[in-house]
């Protein structure tokens, strides 16, 4: 039973990080592109980018919570 729990936590975390990395890359890419189009709005765009990154990262961290629950059993 131990093996399956460790395996589940590891594989789940890996897949979640994959999705999260792609998502954060998309958010940051669009933010950099908009900052290049309108440099005077760069500060506002930067603040919005961080908010977007926090949302994507939260979804990855939901899986981390599940991994902790699996590891602690």
């Amino acid at each position: 039973m131990n093996m399956l729990q460790y395996l589940g936590a590891a594989v789940g975390m890996g897949l979640a990080s994959l999705g999260g990395a792609i998502g954060i890359g998309l958010v940051a890419a669009k933010a950099i592109e908009s900052m290049a189009r309108q440099p005077e709005q760069a500060n506002s765009l930067r603040a919005t980018m961080f908010i977007g990154i926090a949302f994507v990262e939260a979804t990855v961290l939901y899986t981390l919570v599940i991994a902790f629950i699996l590891l602690a059993k």
């Binding site: 908010i51 926090a54 939260a58 939901y62 981390l64 902790f68």
Partner: protein, 236 residues
Amino acid sequence: MQSLFSLIDNFFQYVFGHPDSLIFFVPLLLLSFIVVNRFGVIPNKFQTFVEVIFEFLESQFKPLFKEEAHYKKWMPFFLTIFSYILILNMVGLIPRLTAPTSDIWLTGSMAIMIFLISFFLGIKHNGPIKYFILLTPSGIPTVIRVMMFPIEIISMFAKPFSLAVRLYANMFAGHTIVRTILGLTEIFHSKLILPVDLLFVVILLGFEVFVALIQAFIFAYLSAIYIADSLYMGDH
């Protein structure tokens, strides 16, 4: 019966047995009263810093509320949530202390509070039956609205859950990663890895400051969005 007793015991243990959050927040609150009393019309450096933060928050929260009276009524609440969570998050960076927000009970109870406020505000404003009818957007054929209703109910419960788990997981994960990296000397069975280790930990703690700020702001901003959503439910 047993579980009811343990529930009540948990409640009392939480309210009277966890002084951490009050110990850190109440002295800073009293200190802030003393400091703000000395703010004048011509600002000094600290006042400018506080005003920059406040202007940023105002620029984010003001477009959510359509009337000035609503904004003036609800803004202190969101500012309190923001400063409370910010202070509790920052406490986690002090060496021997753990952040009170890395506790699912505290974040869960704050998220449930926001959920109850938005739910009962919507019901008080619209009446119970019309609230559930207004959950699904208007201007869509009735058949699709009936099909969308379970999805909207699930999302109504998912919102406070995600609010709680987002804050809890960010704080808990940061703390755990620092502890894991510090424990690398045990895994590699040598102390030579310490300088690289400590450098990495310092960089991680710097990132933690940033995460603490952002998560506090996101909690306050999302709770403002949910409450403003309930206030202006039928008005699209």
